[in-house]
């Protein structure tokens, strides 16, 4: 059952990722990506990472992609250009390289000794939210604070970039 | 408490004070000036305490403070003074209040930033002289670069950006090589002892082991060259000197004084401390080259100074000539010559610093530095003329004033090793008299050549106070140099004895 759910989620992720890249309607791109992220969230949940699943949805689907959607609508981009248009040689080379890289990674995955993973025992009782939360404010406190700084900087940067246009 | 961390206080206080100045609004120019002068005087007082706490008979490092900094790499905050550096520290702290006072009435923008730059610069300069850890040395060495860059680039003359960039790049080229050499020394130390160390006292045991034979690419020679280039540029030694005239001409008085007074000494100090101290074998191999460059610098600087039309440029080239004497003394390497070279560093700081101050005062009155714009000033500004004359005489080495003592020791100490070089350097003395007196002649003597100079105000009381410490020291060193020679004796003996 779990396996099938995983396979389904994986299939959804791959298909919609392809759509997100290929489709020429930007809104549909974004929406496809939403679905990809949902699939990812599902996979996280399957792997016992319920906190990450929730975060994935909240942050990616709920915030980041909304932002994308906004921008797409704001800029009113009608349709994207055809895939790989403009610089055919570069596109060809790029696709070859990308495919090669993908193959490389796949091969790496295949060569690794396969093994079943495990869900943390804590995950069954009480979820991962509490341990992750504790880890964040103890062993990873510095990075955590640093991330807050980064976000603050990003906000300031975005506001600045937006403000400047007013003048 | 104060005495335990005296050196750290002297080192950190300027920078700390710069931080104190930060929140004060920059419109309160007077507050900035008063605070800075108080602070710089206080620092001078501290350094005087340093001087009294200093034991002249102890040859090694004293008043040391050592804290681990990056212990994994053997880098530490290790500072100390010995007889070689104490004088230069004192010179630095003396010149600071002097230049602050000299810039008192200067009606320039951003006086706050100028003061902050100066204070940071002071920390860097003092750090250069007191750092025992080579890594720390490199850091403070570079720290001096930035405030000076701003001082030239912000408050300088019309071509200030060019001059500042030139200064920066010249120095940077050398110091980057120096960093490589420092890293190499630490690595070599690690190779020899299995421990990482950047500490001068520890490198002393391994650095002299660097091989110097096997052609020009021998490690010892390469490290020597890397250090040497950095310091040669700073001194500056003959072919690397062209940044100096530009920097001096474009820098404001404050910058010129500090540049000539202290920054150039950093190069000579480095030569003595590191090239001579750490790499004696390579030093021996390079003495002919150094001597030759020193002599060329002396004569060349004097010759070029002779035909300058801009007083500041003239003084700048005279610096090249004077620093050539210092280099000659170091190259000769005898006890007397080396002590003389150290004293000559101080002398040059006083006399050339004084000349720059005076030229600055003149510039402030007339907004020109061209010799041709002056002539016959003596009658309008007799006191100024007198002071200028004294500083000039000090600069050309009149016995009884400070310049002579240094030159005497250098030349006397070098005579037995290189009489021809001494004789040629003597030509530099003659040429020094030629260009300095010719300048005095064209600026001060003769009839009033330019009506614009009529009724130029003479030195004010403040300006007199600016010059007073320099004049006192000029005479003091000239009459009783022992005060300043005796602290260097033991340290130099130790350094040369290695």
């Amino acid at each position: 059952m779990v396996t099938w759910v995983f396979l389904a989620a994986a299939a959804v992720a791959v298909v919609f990722a392809c759509l997100a890249v290929v489709v020429r309607n930007p809104i549909l791109n974004v929406l496809s990506l939403v679905i990809v992220f949902f699939a990812m969230a599902a996979i996280f949940a399957l792997l016992g990472m319920d906190f990450l699943a929730a975060i994935q949805v909240i942050v990616y689907s709920g915030a980041i992609l909304v932002l994308f959607l906004f921008v797409v609508m704001l800029l009113n981009i009608p349709r994207l250009g055809r895939l790989g248009s403009g610089r055919p040689f570069q596109a060809l080379l790029g696709s070859l390289l990308a495919a090669f890289l993908g193959g490389l990674l796949l091969a790496a995955a295949a060569l690794l000794p396969a093994g079943l993973g495990a869900v943390l025992p804590g995950a069954a009782a009480g979820g991962t939210a509490v341990p992750i939360g504790r880890a964040l404010i103890s062993s990873h406190l510095f990075v955590f604070e640093f991330i807050t700084l980064l976000l603050a900087a990003a906000i300031v940067g975005a506001v600045y970039l937006g403000e400047r246009e007013l003048q | 408490m104060v005495d335990d961390h005296l050196l750290s206080i002297v080192l950190i206080a300027p920078a700390a004070f710069a931080v104190v100045l930060l929140p004060i609004p920059r419109r309160w120019r007077k507050v900035h000036r008063v605070l800075t002068i108080i602070a710089s005087s206080l620092m001078f007082a501290f350094s005087l305490r340093l001087w009294t706490a200093f034991d002249a008979d102890e040859p090694g490092f004293q008043l040391a403070e050592r804290l681990p900094w990056i212990p994994q790499l053997g880098i530490s905050y290790h500072i100390a003074v010995d007889g070689i550096s104490i004088l230069l520290v004192l010179l630095t702290t003396l010149l600071l209040p002097v230049v602050v006072l000299a810039a008192w009435r200067l009606n320039i923008e951003h006086i706050k930033s100028l003061h902050i730059s100066l204070l940071l610069l002071t920390t860097g300069m003092i750090g250069t002289f007191v750092a025992v850890d080579l890594f720390l040395f490199y850091v403070v060495w570079e720290i001096t670069l930035i405030p000076m860059y701003f001082i030239i680039g912000v408050w300088g003359g019309p071509r200030r950006i060019y001059a500042a960039v030139k200064f920066f790049i010249f120095t940077m080229v050398g110091s980057v090589l120096m960093l490589v050499a420092v890293l190499y020394l630490a690595w070599f130390h690690h190779l020899q002892t299995g421990a990482w160390s950047y500490d001068y006292t520890e490198l002393l045991t391994t650095a002299p082991l660097l091989p110097v034979t096997g052609g020009l690419l021998a490690p010892g020679l390469l490290v020597f060259a890397a250090f040497g280039l950095a310091f040669a540029i700073k001194v500056p030694v003959f072919p690397f000197h062209t940044w100096l005239p530009d920097a001096h001409v474009e820098a404001p008085t404050t910058g010129s004084v500090i540049l000539a007074g202290v920054l150039l000494k950093m190069g000579a100090y480095g030569f003595l401390r590191f090239n001579r101290g750490l790499l004696p074998a390579a030093w021996e191999a390079c003495v002919p080259l150094l001597t030759a460059l020193a002599v060329v610098g002396i004569i060349y600087g004097a010759l070029v100074a002779m035909v300058q039309a801009d007083v500041k440029k003239l003084v700048a080239y005279s610096s090249v000539s004077h620093m050539g004497f210092v280099m000659l003394g170091l190259a000769a390497g005898g006890q007397a010559a080396t002590q003389g070279a150290i004293l000559q560093m101080v002398n040059h700081g006083l006399s050339t610093g004084g000349l720059f101050l005076l030229v600055g005062m003149l510039y402030q009155r007339r907004h020109t530095r061209m010799i041709a714009d002056f002539g016959g000033l003596a009658h309008e500004m007799p006191v100024f003329t007198g002071v200028f004359l004294i500083v000039t005489l000090s600069s050309i080495g009149l016995p009884g004033l400070n310049g002579f003592v240094g030159e005497f020791l250098i030349l006397a100490g070098s005579w037995s090793r290189a009489p021809v070089a001494v004789a040629l350097a003597g030509l530099g003395i003659i040429l020094g008299a030629v260009y300095m007196l010719w300048t005095v002649q064209r600026v001060f003597w003769g009839p009033l050549a330019n009506e614009a100079n009529r009724l130029l105000p003479d030195l004010t009381v403040r300006e007199l106070f600016v010059m007073l410490p320099l004049l006192v020291l000029i005479v003091w060193i000239g009459v009783h140099p022992g005060t300043f020679l005796s602290p260097t004796e033991a340290a130099v003996r130790l350094l040369l004895g290695r």
Binding site: Q90, L101 | L303, A337, G340, P399, W445, G446, G482
Partner: protein
């Protein structure tokens, strides 16, 4: 009293400082004069008291070290003073002449403003300080301080009228030319230090005398270098050019510095270092040749000068040549003797000329003078006494010293001193010729100035007057000294009265004992002259004859009805010679051509070509340009297309991944 040795220069220094302060305060001249003259007067008093005390003792060398001046490594230089017969003699006449000239200056400089007046006395006091330091110093370094100090004061005083550009230029010329000599001196100091490890006279000279063989080469080097210094300071060929120009200073300055004291410092120094010179025949000969040639050379120029001070200046150069000739032949005492007598008569001459110039309202050209004898008798008579003295007329001071020199020169030739007998004989001939010329041009000056009728403008003629008391008093005193000054060195041996020569007896310890230890050939020439009594008398006659001939010739040329006709005709007959002499052999022009212009060209070359073009433009900015060029080329790889960059990143990533594989 000997402990107060330091007071002698110190008082002068105090006076100088006080006057400097007074000058900035623009104090009244009376105070300045009191301070200026008073300090020197006090110094003189102390000096003479000290000398009195010293003379009462066995004439030992008294060294008073005060503190260590410079001490580094094996170099130790003491700030110490030394009193021995030589410095005693020098101190004695320097203080006296100095005091007299100070007094004279009060009158002479009365027209100056308060500040300038104080400045003048400050400089003059400072000069006294330096000069006394020079003669009292117990080692070469202290001597050098004084040496440079007097040079500085000379610079300042020559350029005293700094608003006249040529005065200031003359000062600078003096200082720089002196510097060239000073370099020699400085190098000599270094060489001494290297050879002997000390600069103290009492260490170096005995050591050299004790071991002449091993110090021979060093002695030659040191002696020659020292002599370079002396040449500069004492205005000998080739560095004499500054002295005539130095007449730009106030006349008392010319008298004190450029005639009586400072310029003789070179002679003093050579005598001081006589041990070293004696060890080196080469150096001796060099000194003698330079001195002799200078004597005749300057005398010839003096023949045609029209500026009264220039005449005196060239005569000073010439007389200094005599002194060096004396040292060159080992007549050390004679040299010092001539220094003393020369100080008296030349100071007198200068002060007299100053008096004349004062009277003529600043006019210095003798062609616009004449007949002043009536208007200013005191000046005339003192001037006359000094002129007779310099011309070498017997009884007068100059006769004794000059005759001594000529005799010794002849003796050197006769005894074939150091094997250079021929050279010394030639030098003797030159010296005699110079004596003749000296007598001639000095009387030319006397006659044109004081005799005949006044040739200046009418308004000046009305103002002709004798100078004030403060000026005439020194004149008279110096005039008297010019007459009787020679009696301290009466040539007793001529009359078989060995004890008569006081100065020789007094100075003997400085010159002789060391030599005895050294036992050198020069001593043979000295002790008994090596010539017979008859020859000596003959030589006296020759010199007196030369002087008389000079005087008579001058009388024939410049006095009476045919005055000035003969010389004019002579000048027309020998135009080339006349022009050459008038233009001083074009030496200044030659120096300008050979030294100054190449130097400036080299400087310009260094600056424009080496500095700006080769180093700055080609090397420094060239490197920068190279970097820029490379960057310009390299930047074409940045297409600005983000996808291009992305492709590069991807390629790199793939490459790295493949590598890791």
């Amino acid at each position: 009293m000997l402990d107060a040795l330091w007071l002698i220069p110190a008082l002068c220094l105090a006076g100088a400082c006080a006057n400097l302060v007074l000058g900035t305060l623009r104090a009244p001249k009376a105070i300045v004069a009191v301070v200026g003259v008073g300090s020197v007067g006090a110094a003189t008093a102390v000096a003479w008291a000290t000398l009195w005390a010293y003379a009462g003792q066995p004439l030992a060398v008294v060294v008073r070290p005060y503190f260590t001046w410079i001490s580094a490594g094996d170099i130790t230089v003491n700030a110490s003073l030394q009193l021995d017969p030589l410095s005693a003699v020098m101190t004695a006449f320097v203080t006296v002449v100095g005091l007299l000239i100070h007094v004279y200056s009060v009158g002479y400089m009365h027209g100056e403003g308060n500040a300038a007046f104080a400045r003048y006395f400050a400089y003059l006091n400072l000069f006294m300080f330096a000069m006394l330091l020079l003669v009292l110093g117990s080692n070469l370094a202290v001597l050098f301080i004084g040496w440079e100090g007097v040079g500085l004061c000379s610079y300042l005083l020559i350029g005293y009228y700094y608003r006249q550009l040529w005065c200031a230029q003359a000062g600078m010329k003096a200082f720089i030319v002196n510097r060239i000599g000073d370099l020699g001196f400085l190098l000599a100091i270094f060489a001494t230090l290297a050879a002997f490890g000390s600069l103290e006279f009492e260490t170096v000279f005995p050591a050299a005398a004790a071991d002449p063989a091993s110090f021979g080469p060093e002695a030659t080097v040191i002696a020659l270098l020292l002599f370079v210094g002396a040449v500069g300071k004492s205005a000998q060929i080739p560095l004499y050019v500054w002295l005539p120009d130095a007449m730009a200073g106030p006349t008392p300055v010319s008298a004190l510095i450029h005639a009586a004291t400072m310029v003789t410092a070179g002679v003093y120094m050579v005598v001081r270092a006589n041990v070293l010179f004696r060890l080196s025949p080469t150096a001796m000969l060099t000194v003698a040749v330079v001195g002799g040639v200078t004597a005749i050379f300057a005398a010839t120029i003096g023949l045609v000068q029209n500026d009264i001070k220039k005449v005196l200046a060239y005569s000073t150069v010439s007389q200094l040549g005599y002194m060096f000739l004396a040292t060159g032949v080992g007549a050390w005492v004679a040299a010092i003797f001539h220094v003393v007598t020369h100080a008296f008569f030349k100071a007198c001459l200068f002060l007299g000329s100053g008096s004349v110039i004062h009277a003529c309202g600043g006019e210095q050209d003798m062609r616009r003078m004449g007949g002043l004898r009536i208007h200013m008798p005191t000046t005339y008579w003192t001037f006359l006494a000094a002129t007779l003295s310099i011309a070498g007329i017997p009884i007068f001071a100059g006769f004794f010293s000059k005759d001594e020199i000529l005799t010794r020169t002849w003796a050197a030739g006769a005894s074939d001193l150091n094997g250079f007998g021929d050279a010394y004989r030639v030098l003797w001939a030159l010296a005699v010729a110079a004596a003749l010329l000296t007598a001639f041009y000095m009387f030319r000056a006397l006659f044109t100035t004081f005799h005949g009728s006044f040739r200046g403008p009418e308004e000046v003629a009305h103002h002709l007057h004798e100078s004030p008391r403060s000026m005439t008093l020194p004149l008279v005193l110096l005039g008297v000294l010019s007459v009787v000054g020679g009696f301290v060195g009466l040539p007793g041996q001529l009359l078989h009265l060995e004890g008569l020569n006081l100065i020789e007896r007094f100075l003997k310890p400085v010159v002789i004992p060391l030599a005895e230890v050294g036992g050198h050939a020069a001593e043979a020439a000295h002790g008994a002259h090596g010539i017979g009594l008859a020859t000596e008398w003959l030589l006296v006659l020759v010199s007196v004859g030369a002087a008389a001939a000079g005087v008579l010739l001058a009388r024939r040329f410049y006095l009476g009805a045919g005055a000035f006709l003969l010389p004019r005709r002579l000048a027309e007959r020998l135009p080339l010679l006349h022009r050459m002499l008038l233009n001083k052999y074009w030496v200044d022009e030659l120096y300008a051509l050979l030294v100054i212009r190449p130097l400036r060209a080299a400087a310009g070359f260094c600056w424009r070509v080496v500095d700006e073009l080769a180093i700055d433009t080609l090397l420094v900015n060239g490197t920068a340009f190279g970097v820029e060029l490379g960057a310009d080329l390299a930047r074409y790889t940045t297409t600005g297309n983000i996808r291009n960059y992305a492709l590069m990143v991807l390629a790199a990533a793939v490459g790295i991944a493949a590598l890791l594989w």
